[in-house]
């Protein structure tokens, strides 16, 4: 490619950050100083374009180190990867966690989404913003759901700085519980740790700190001194049922050390993979098909059918992608699984790769999940060292490895084809289907993409056997299901119940509080139900019959303290912010929806009627004509609130 690059140069720090990822440049064609040899040969073209997928990791490297992406830095990345600067700029401006304008090294993300709003986030945001002015060296951003709903309200501090030995990967044998400490590596040995308050530069280590539940004081303290923020509660704190012997998916959380591969193996780990090797790929697919497993990400597609369709594709290589971009407001089950039982996901991905003929698995992990990143990076390294990943998994002659790719703040990248574009280094815009991913997915090759919870279900399918697994739950919704319960309940967290339990049973288990006004099922893309509908069975077919959806398993209870129109407005804001902008119904429709909800936030009856008609018409066009599920579901929750709950009456 004959590309034109600008004259801006990267700083030494920016160059070092990129080179740490990509290695030093080989020639002036890639941004090194010009030598005589460079005049005799040209580098670039087709081979260089094959590295396009390193664009997002390179942008992360800059953002982690410097906190924003300058012109010189972006141009340098483009030279290194032979990416047109205009396209790289389009990618950098797509993600909410990146900035192409200078900003302080520390960014404090304050969750302003549903569960946090109900827990007082608006006042918290305002208070934090008043305490952390421009001179504080902290940039405060209102963020979509951080996936910490069980501990609402939540904040996440990200301070740019030098990576520890390996970002997010604690040194072997020194695994510490907090992402904060994990990021700090061996801790305190680097010069100047702790005195780089709000500054960027060599003296500061890249640090993240989760603060939840947050008060203005704790959030501000975590933002200004993230390295000494108090430890996050352990993952089992998010599992009220922890230790109950009947658990299938969550049984290891709280009982095994998530850092220890030996502990994992001592508790049944890697028996499923052994069984898989005994069955052979076709046998595994048969088991998964017979188990009746349906995708847990929200679409409920039969997993066995997806695997079979991918495995049967003649085109090679095949890829496995694990969708861990858990961004649906109210969803945090995948985070808890990854933080509490990371080896289970590694094992499940290995099985899925084996069954579908893939030798490479990508784990696309939400950018806002630092502890899950640390745990999985550690787990993958350990598994590789012990021959459970690599050229010869378990000595069976099967090669498989997993690469983690971090998202950077885009709900849309949880859409399967948008996720492919994101990994490939393009803007995370959905592709039109057909062709479907099983035929042309990641890098245009047959790809199977599964949600974290879906994959983890494969382990009990193989250890129990398909018939025993299928006996759990109902006839069409088989197996156990994780529910993310938050809001107005005494014991919020991830609950595991067999399919078929009713909404009321789940809420009773979680200790629903008095004055229940509404329950949101499935998150922002789901729908509200009334307090008198608690007998809805929590199955795919049961919720469908009741005219609602199970979605990703969100169950958010609301009482009267937050007016419903405020919640609806927040949902509309969420979709407006997260629309990728590709198709007209969603790009403009989500804006018009928010405007109309703004107008009627304090109105009812006839005063709201005109706007409700407008909402219905726009909503119907979004549902019918949008390219992907984001636009198609952007009106669901609002519609259900109007029709079922009688909002605005």
């Amino acid at each position: 490619m004959d590309l034109r690059f600008g004259d801006s140069k990267p700083t030494d720090e920016e160059r070092a950050a990129v080179d740490a990822l990509l290695g030093p440049p080989e020639s002036s064609w890639e941004g090194a100083d010009r030598s005589d040899a460079d005049l005799r040969w040209a580098r670039g073209g087709r081979e260089a374009r094959d590295r396009r997928d390193q664009l997002l990791p390179a942008l992360h490297a800059l953002n982690d180190r410097v906190g924003w992406i300058s012109e010189g830095a972006l141009d340098y990345v483009c030279r290194r990867l032979t990416v047109p600067p205009a396209e790289a700029y389009g990618v950098a401006t797509f993600y909410a966690m990146f900035s192409v304008r200078p900003r302080p090294a520390t960014v404090l993300h304050v969750c302003a989404d549903l569960a946090c709003t109900a827990a007082g986030a608006p006042a918290l945001c305002a208070d934090i913003e008043s305490r952390l002015g421009p001179e504080s060296g902290v940039h405060v951003e209102r963020s979509p759901c951080l996936g910490l709903c069980e501990r609402a309200p939540a904040t996440l501090t990200v301070r740019a700085g030098v990576a520890s030995a390996r970002l997010g990967a604690p040194p072997l044998g020194e695994f510490e519980d907090e992402a904060v400490q994990a990021d700090r590596g061996s801790g305190g040995a680097a010069p100047g740790v702790g005195n780089g308050e709000g500054r960027r530069g060599r003296n500061t280590l890249h640090t993240t700190a989760v603060c939840a539940p947050a008060t203005p004081a704790t959030a501000v303290a975590a933002a200004t001194t993230p390295e000494s923020a108090p430890a996050e509660p352990t993952p089992e704190a998010a599992v009220p049922q922890a230790g109950t012997p009947t658990l299938t998916l969550l049984h290891r959380i709280g009982t095994v050390d998530p850092a220890s591969l030996d502990d994992y193996r001592a508790h049944g780990g890697y028996t499923a993979l052994r069984r898989a090797f005994a069955l052979g790929p076709a046998g595994v697919i048969r088991e998964v098909t017979d188990s009746g497993l349906l995708g847990r990400g929200g679409a409920a597609f039969p997993t066995g059918r997806k695997w079979q369709a991918t495995a049967a594709q003649p085109d090679h290589p095949h890829y496995l992608v694990c969708n861990a971009d858990e961004s649906e407001p109210g969803t945090f089950k995948d985070r808890v699984l990854m933080e509490g039982d990371p080896y289970a996901l590694v094992e499940a991905m290995t099985i899925a790769g084996y069954a579908t003929g893939a030798h490479k698995g990508y784990l696309y992990l939400r950018g806002e999940y630092p502890r899950a990143l640390a745990r999985l990076t550690h787990a993958i390294t350990q598994a590789r060292t012990r021959g459970l990943l690599g050229d010869d998994v378990l000595g069976q002659g099967y090669a498989f490895d997993i690469e983690i790719r971090r998202g950077a703040g885009a709900y849309i990248c949880g859409e399967e084809t948008a996720l492919f574009n994101s990994i490939e280094g393009y803007r995370g815009e959905p592709r039109s289907k057909p062709p479907f991913p099983v035929e042309k997915g990641l890098f245009g090759k047959p790809t199977v993409e599964n949600n974290v919870e879906t994959l983890v279900n494969v382990l009990p399918i193989l250890t129990l056997g398909a018939p025993a697994y299928a006996a759990i739950g109902t006839g069409t919704s088989t197996g156990p299901k994780l529910f993310c319960v938050s809001g107005s309940v005494a014991r919020p967290g991830v609950y595991e119940l067999p399919f078929g339990a009713t909404l009321g049973e789940l809420l009773t288990l979680a200790g629903v509080r008095e004055g229940l006004r509404a329950v949101l099922l499935g998150g922002a893309a789901g729908g509200f139900v009334r307090p008198d509908e608690l007998d809805i069975p929590l199955t795919f077919e049961g919720t469908r019959e009741a005219g609602t959806t199970l979605g990703s398993g969100v169950v958010m209870a609301f009482d009267d303290t937050v007016p419903l129109p405020r919640l609806l407005l927040r949902i509309a804001e969420f979709f407006r912010d997260e629309s990728c902008g590709q198709c007209v119904p969603c790009r403009v429709g989500t804006v018009r929806q928010e405007e109309a909800l703004h107008r009627i936030v304090d109105r009812t009856g006839a005063d709201a009627a005109v706007d409700i008609t407008l909402l219905r018409e726009v909503g119907r066009a979004m549902r019918d004509a949008s390219i992907c599920g984001l636009g198609q579901t952007a009106w669901n929750a609002v519609e259900s609130a109007i029709d079922r709950l009688g909002a605005y009456e």
Partner: protein, 286 residues
């Protein structure tokens, strides 16, 4: 003699279009079939020389058994498919899409759109006077063409024409996200600091007039632009040996714009800076 590429013979796909049997060569889109059957389906982001992006969603049609509507411009006809182009559902989505577009950008120079707005009874004003609009000042940063993003519907055609579908300059991309997404060069700078080679192939495919010749932009501003008084003459570019076809748009004996026939089997409507903008010498009369 013009060489007519015959290509490999293609099988015919049979399906039902608005209750009539339709037979189109394999690989044809629903839109191809509609056009062959003489049906008018509105399109904005579809371009005859580009791969459909199906971003505007104004061409949606009803495919029996599908959960959502399908974009006619890119959905391929499949055997046995039952397609209806004029259901209430499809018309509703087209109407709302037209309302959403017309309420957010300036469609005054988009051909046919006024007629569609009338046909579908779209009422862009219903979103009220405070409805958010893409309010961008026209960017006049060079002597050749103007970018007026207040008229841009984000059809991606200019990006595709500048990128790997035609020019391979990659000077522009979509930046930002959602309603704030815009076509821009790197770092959102002026064109003169970008990789733009001024071939003007983006203007050739722009469906809304967001990209226009500086000459057209100035004449519109002065109120002198009048297509009724313009003649179009197709000739051969005199600069090099390729022999691209130029269509000169002439008003009052002055060349005011240059386009190129899209059905030219060699150039498909693409030109370089010389053919597109290098016409001044023709009208220097001193």
């Amino acid at each position: 003699m013009t060489a007519i590429p015959l290509g490999v013979p293609r099988r015919l796909v049979e399906f039902t279009l608005d209750g009539q049997e339709a037979r189109v060569p394999e690989g044809s889109t629903i839109l191809d079939a509609c056009r062959a059957a003489g049906k008018d389906v509105p399109t904005l982001c579809e371009g005859d020389t580009l791969t459909p992006k199906n971003a505007c969603r104004v061409c949606v049609v009803d495919v029996e058994g599908a959960r959502t509507l399908a974009p006619a411009c890119s959905r391929k006809a499949e055997p046995g498919m039952v397609v209806r182009t004029d259901t209430e559902r499809a018309r509703h989505s087209r109407k709302v899409v037209l309302e959403l577009l017309a309420s957010s950008v300036d469609l005054s120079t988009t051909p046919s759109v006024a007629q569609w707005i009338k046909e579908y009874e779209a009422k862009p004003d219903r979103f009220g006077p405070n409805a958010a609009r893409v309010d961008e000042e026209p960017r006049v940063d060079n002597d050749l063409y103007v970018r007026d993003y207040g008229k841009c519907i984000l059809c991606y055609k200019c990006v595709d024409a500048c990128g790997d579908q035609w020019q391979n300059s990659f000077a522009i991309s979509v930046s930002g996200r959602g309603f704030d997404a815009r076509i821009s060069v790197e770092h959102d700078g002026p064109l003169t600091d970008s990789a733009c080679v001024y071939c003007g192939n983006c203007i050739e495919v722009c469906p809304t007039g967001a990209l226009s010749f500086k000459s057209e932009f100035d004449m519109r501003a002065a109120g002198t632009w009048d297509e009724e008084r313009q003649t179009e003459t197709t000739t051969v570019c005199a600069y090099c040996g390729v022999g691209c076809n130029l269509t000169l748009h002439v008003q009052d004996n002055e060349i005011v714009k240059v386009t190129s026939p899209h059905d030219n089997p060699v150039t498909h409507g693409n030109l370089c800076i010389k053919g597109r903008f290098g016409y001044q010498h023709v009208q220097n009369r001193d």
